[in-house]
């Protein structure tokens, strides 16, 4: 079956925030890149496209036929989607194992695993 892994960065440091990113040691930074690379190369994984950070988001609603836009993501900045990938796996246990290898999961963020309708 197919799963979508939604990556929530939460408090996880990313290169987009140089101050936060600098809190990681050079080894930890290298490990983050290496881990994402290994995940993208895992059989069954289809990586998602790279997204600009949530503060570049525009949220659109329609009320009484009128289009309203607000600056920022639908949920809070911290809860906004940071990235995603698809994973073809036998069962949820396999998807949970992959999710636990995503660096964001150990650095203050979280991964939401969602089965995809087939």
């Amino acid at each position: 079956m197919k799963f979508m892994l939604l990556i929530q960065q939460g408090d996880a440091p990313t290169p987009r925030d140089p101050n936060a990113w600098a809190r990681l040691s050079a080894d930890e930074q290298r490990a983050v890149y290496a881990d994402y690379k290994a995940i993208n190369e895992t059989p069954g994984v289809t990586s998602g496209v790279q997204m600009q950070p949530p503060d570049t988001a525009t949220t659109v609603r329609v009320q009484d036929g009128k289009t309203l836009t607000t600056d920022g993501p639908f949920v809070g900045m911290k809860e906004a989607l940071g990235g995603y990938l698809f994973f073809e796996a036998d069962d949820l246990d396999a998807a949970i194992e992959l999710a636990s290898r995503v660096p964001a999961a150990r650095l203050g963020g979280a991964i939401e695993v969602r089965p995809i309708m087939e």
């Binding site: 079956m1 799963f3 796996a89 036998d90 069962d91 949820l92 246990d93 998807a95 949970i96 695993v113 089965p115």
Partner: protein
């Protein structure tokens, strides 16, 4: 239901359902067909006599029901591999060996991707064969809420791809801990008064010990539950709570205590040193005529190390007080950050009373009384306060 059927249901429901879920990969269909099989048994067994192998008969009959249903419903047929299987005859049923898939079912029901309440409800429903209404009453929630909880859990298992299997070795320790936690939670709900839950937890514990005979913690949990439950009737006299030291030992169920100690022996022989084994060892020592307090204190120390729980440390304080006197116990108890826990204050009060510091003891009892919820415990505390002033 006649006695023979009731016995068959109690003894075989979990196994029959597990085999069907393993075969069908669908909880609801499996449950409906298992129920039909028991209904057919209810009609036939009193007339024709029970079959030699009731579990195999029930599984085969339920499986045939499922195959018939699927033949009627082509949309379901596409999803299963069932139609290749020929319908079994009565003779087949007598010889059939039905794989025992209760473990697979148990690990599925206790998967950490399900909420703990759902794990508990699903385990009682599928392996225990309890009705939705019974589970709802046991956990004091409205029946529709419980029904909804079960429906949601079953839907998630299917939609999210929770596997029907015993986890591989690298996942097993964590996942077994989750299964044990569910069974112990059921037991503790029952220990508080709803005894049918405690019996159900022991039944599950026995089944698990039979299915995983080499896991020390499984035997440890079974031993712990058996020994606690053996003292159940002595815990109350006329509705009033009786503390362990004051219990009438003649009211302890000796055979069950012995069975618990045998399970503990088995766990220790397997080199078990996990939290359930240690707790069982403590329960066993507590049941001795003259408890070995130094040993009990040492085991609580071990358990604190394993769990990091201040409540365990509180119990160590009580054991140390028995060994080295109230002063030494109080020293441990006063270090604990359990300000809102009534047992902390009740324990402090008791130790202060032994030291003759009655004013402080009375204040501690009042603090415990302000925090306690259970009526029997409240009355016990009130009796203690009254004794102080006489």
């Amino acid at each position: 239901m006649t006695a023979i059927l009731e016995q068959a249901f109690r003894g075989h429901w979990g196994r029959v359902l597990a085999a069907l879920i393993g075969f069908l990969g669908d909880f609801d269909l499996a449950e409906e067909c298992a129920q039909e099989a028991f209904a057919i048994a209810a009609a036939r067994w009193p007339r024709d006599g029970a079959p030699a192998n009731p579990a195999a008969w029930l599984v085969t009959t339920a499986r045939n029901q499922a195959i018939n249903r699927i033949r009627r419903d082509r949309t379901l047929a596409a999803k299963t591999r069932l139609l290749e299987v020929p319908e079994a005859t009565e003779e087949d049923m007598e010889q059939a060996t039905i794989a025992d898939e209760r473990l697979e079912l148990l690990f599925t029901c206790c998967h950490p991707a399900l909420a703990i309440e759902a794990q508990v409800a699903l385990t009682l429903r599928t392996l225990g064969g309890l009705g939705t209404g019974e589970i709802a009453r046991a956990f004091l929630v409205p029946e529709p809420t419980m029904a909804q909880r079960l429906v949601r859990a079953k839907r998630k298992i299917k939609a999210a791809g929770i596997p029907f299997r015993v986890p591989p070795p690298h996942l097993l320790p964590d996942r077994l801990a989750a299964v044990l936690a569910v069974i112990y939670l059921v037991f503790n709900e029952g220990y508080g008064g709803r005894s049918e839950l405690a019996s159900e937890a022991i039944r599950l514990g026995r089944a698990l010990a039979e299915l995983m005979p080499d896991e020390p913690e499984v035997h440890g949990l079974l031993a712990l539950m058996l020994m606690h439950d053996a003292r159940r009737e002595a815990r109350f006299t006329g509705g009033e709570l009786v503390l362990l030291a004051d219990q009438d030992r003649a009211r302890w169920k000796q055979p069950q205590l012995r069975e618990g100690r045998a399970a503990l022996e088995r766990a220790l022989a397997l080199h078990g040193r996990g939290p359930y084994v240690v707790q069982a060892a403590i329960a066993s020592l507590h049941a001795d005529e003259a408890p070995d307090w130094p040993q009990i204190a040492a085991l609580y120390g071990e358990l604190t190390r394993l769990t990091g729980s201040p409540v365990v440390e509180l119990n160590r304080g009580i054991a140390v007080a028995e060994q080295h006197g109230a002063e030494a116990g109080l020293e441990i108890v006063d270090r604990l950050a359990l300000e809102d826990f009534h047992y902390l204050h009740a324990t402090r009060a008791e130790l202060l009373r032994r030291l003759g510091r009655n004013t402080e003891a009375a204040a501690a009892y009042r603090r415990a009384l302000a925090l306690v919820h259970d009526d029997a415990e409240r009355r016990l505390l009130e009796r203690r306060v009254a004794e102080l002033s006489t």
